[in-house]
Symmetry: C2
Subunit: 428 residues, 2 copies
């Protein structure tokens, strides 16, 4: 980057008034609309977002059924049953799963029908007696106690009623949703298209991992972290490689990516000292700048822009800064493009496990890792919090929102946090 | 299922003494060993489990570098700088990113070198002054205040030191791990093979979702829910379809699946009234039964077995029972096969949001959904808790562990829960 020499003028345009994070997110969300819809088979639907409400086409269960293994009987027939004067009921062998399903054969007076967990109940029966609670004597059963009508009786539709809304537009199809769709016999569902998110890393110092490092160079890692998160939330990352510190090259790569991607994320080239490389590249493409600079650390120089309705979010190249601003700015954008209707960030509070004695005049998002201590959410700080420390992002599942001008924070303080969801069985 | 008529003898063999859940898990874990290792490129490594520790092959950063944009100087040269008597330093134009990376050109006395965030610092420099804090006058800069040695100075290896263990064997490669591997220039990593988990649904009443329902039939849903969770945690589901209530057919399907799968999960055919269909099928295959029946509800009749070192876990066909026992028994097994070394279930406590006034002489796992209330984990009960209610599994992310013979639980009670991880941006 040493070929660039700072100019007073450039430095000034580089320092617009920072906006609040919440304002930046609001601006981004205005452009974060779903990118299209389609249909998908439920075997491939895990993680996709429903583009329409799903109503139950049938009752669940589809018929009145037995919740256990036993005998379906009429409650009136056994009303007087006692150990001393048991009631004998005849087993009606004509009643089978199929006849019950059809509702064809009615259970007659003083009859019993053998039923299993989940099998339909014959018309006439209003009670099921547990297998263990009767004595079978050849083709008869002996009942020794009464049961109120509709004991051990599952009604058709008591789980899910035909016509009711089961899953909502804008929700992610998770494993239990897939199961419920199958139970309802819905094999194909309407979903939003997965947005394509292009990721570009800017910086003369960056090398792709399959190349050899030269002096002063480092491997690009931001693309990898960001692409992995994009994939994890259910969108489609396009790794668009690294670009040197050259306005024209950056502009060209962005313009190429705008053809196929639904959104672009860049890292690097937005700091004061980067002389507005990315900003100038964007302006040369006739892009509308939404904001540049956010009142937070790390990642202050973040920039949001729009071209042809497509969002371009430009983050600092410092790995911890890119990490924090990706989650705070880009995840809400991606969630919007995916069609997710819930607020994309889970914000709550947690108890700080460590002291954090540094103070700052700026709002600061620290990297941390949550754990439960008897149901109380606690958060352990990453050891080093400098924006260039990639280690602080490892297993980080919470950003701790420390307001500007906070006093030093003692362990035990309750702090505001933004949670980063993780699917994985717990890490160390 | 009505073709089967209960026999006293069969009923007796069907009711072995239930084991504790923890005992069952312990027995399962003895056989839950990783199924092999391989190598994978980091672009495809998300969600895979490391089969070896990863040590840093290089320092991060690889060189002493600047944390900001400014001028590298010698602290001794500016020791006396004040506003009234500023120090003038000459910019050494020979010092470039490349020369710094090589460490070739030393910064001379009363010299300054322009540096950007992340660029190497030249030998001799021990301080970086912010761009904004100096005045540039042609080829010189004017410094008006001193800085202690090693201010704004990042040491090589201060993030990650060459040789140190960065990622551990048995941990899942999450997005930030992918980024750290990239930063270290590690493009290929050793991982465990993804275990193949075959899923079989037993029951005459079951129909696959692309078929037409006949009277008394229902769609298979357990296979779909379980396959989706298997995929979500990072293993490979094999949907092995449905099998009728026939010992021989079940035995044949299990035996087929044992050829290719690393583990088998079945649902259905294990209840008392199912006359030990699955148990008999397993015994006909010379399988070793580890346990049959667990002292918990729902899902009491669960069975664990082993054949040729491969686990076979057989669950109740009731959807909520299959759901609970899948998470409590099969997830630990899958985690073991995947090579994950952490305890697979996250157990903590939460505050009950609702009353649960039913009492039971059995340990009961209720389905619930967690949320944070100011950092306190609370859990909302699914409305209906019968084992046949599939709706209770929707967005369920916690199983509430209610001990046998508990008194009625009032809202506000602290309860023990098992968490089910979810990657998705929050559902409604």
């Amino acid at each position: 980057m040493n070929s660039f020499v700072p100019q007073e003028a450039a430095l000034k345009t580089n320092s617009p008034q920072p906006v609040h994070l919440e304002t930046a997110v609001e601006m981004i969300l205005q452009y974060a609309q779903p990118v299209g819809t389609g249909k998908i088979g439920i075997r491939s639907a895990l993680g996709r977002v429903l583009s329409e409400d799903i109503h139950a086409p049938v009752n669940l269960p589809p018929f009145n059924r037995s919740p256990l293994d036993g005998y379906a009987v009429r409650s009136e027939d056994i009303a007087g049953a006692t150990t001393d004067s048991p009631v004998l009921l005849e087993i009606n062998k004509e009643i089978t799963t199929e006849s019950n399903g059809n509702g064809k054969v009615e259970l007659g007076k003083n009859q019993a029908a053998i039923v299993m967990t989940g099998t339909p109940l014959p018309p006439g029966a209003d009670v099921v007696i547990k297998l263990e609670d009767v004595r079978k004597i050849e083709q008869k059963i002996e009942v020794v106690s009464p049961l109120p009508a509709y004991s051990n009786y599952c009604f058709a539709g008591e789980d899910i009623r035909q016509g009711e809304r089961v899953l909502s537009k804008g929700t992610v199809i998770d494993p239990s949703s897939v199961g419920i769709l199958a139970a309802l016999g819905i094999s194909v569902v309407p979903v939003y298209r997965r947005p394509k998110v292009a990721i570009i890393s800017n910086g003369d110092e960056l090398v792709e991992i399959d190349k050899q490092l030269k002096p002063g160079q480092i491997f690009d890692s931001n693309s990898y972290t960001i692409a992995s998160y994009v994939r994890q939330v259910g969108a489609r990352p396009i790794m668009a490689g690294t670009v040197g510190d050259n306005t024209e090259l950056i502009a060209r790569r962005i313009s190429e990516m705008l053809k196929s991607a639904d959104m672009i994320i860049t890292t690097g080239g937005v700091s004061v000292g980067d002389f507005d490389l990315v900003r100038n590249a964007l302006l040369s493409q006739g892009v509308k700048i939404l904001f540049h600079r956010i009142a937070m650390r790390p990642g202050t120089p973040a920039l949001g822009a729009v071209k042809n309705g497509k969002l371009i979010i430009c983050l600092s190249g410092n790995q911890a800064a890119a990490f924090a601003t990706f989650h705070l700015l880009a995840i809400p954008a991606i969630a919007g493009l995916m069609g997710i209707t819930r607020p994309p960030l889970t914000i709550t509070t947690a108890v700080l496990h460590d002291n954090y004695l540094k103070t700052s005049t700026q709002r600061n998002f620290l990297r941390g890792r949550t754990f439960f201590d008897e149901g109380v959410l606690k958060v352990k700080l990453a050891e080093k919090q400098n924006p260039g420390i990639i280690r602080s992002t490892l297993y980080c599942d919470a950003l701790i929102d420390v307001p500007a001008d906070s006093a030093p924070l003692q362990a035990g303080t309750r702090v505001k946090i933004v949670l980063i969801p993780s699917p994985w069985l717990q890490q160390n």
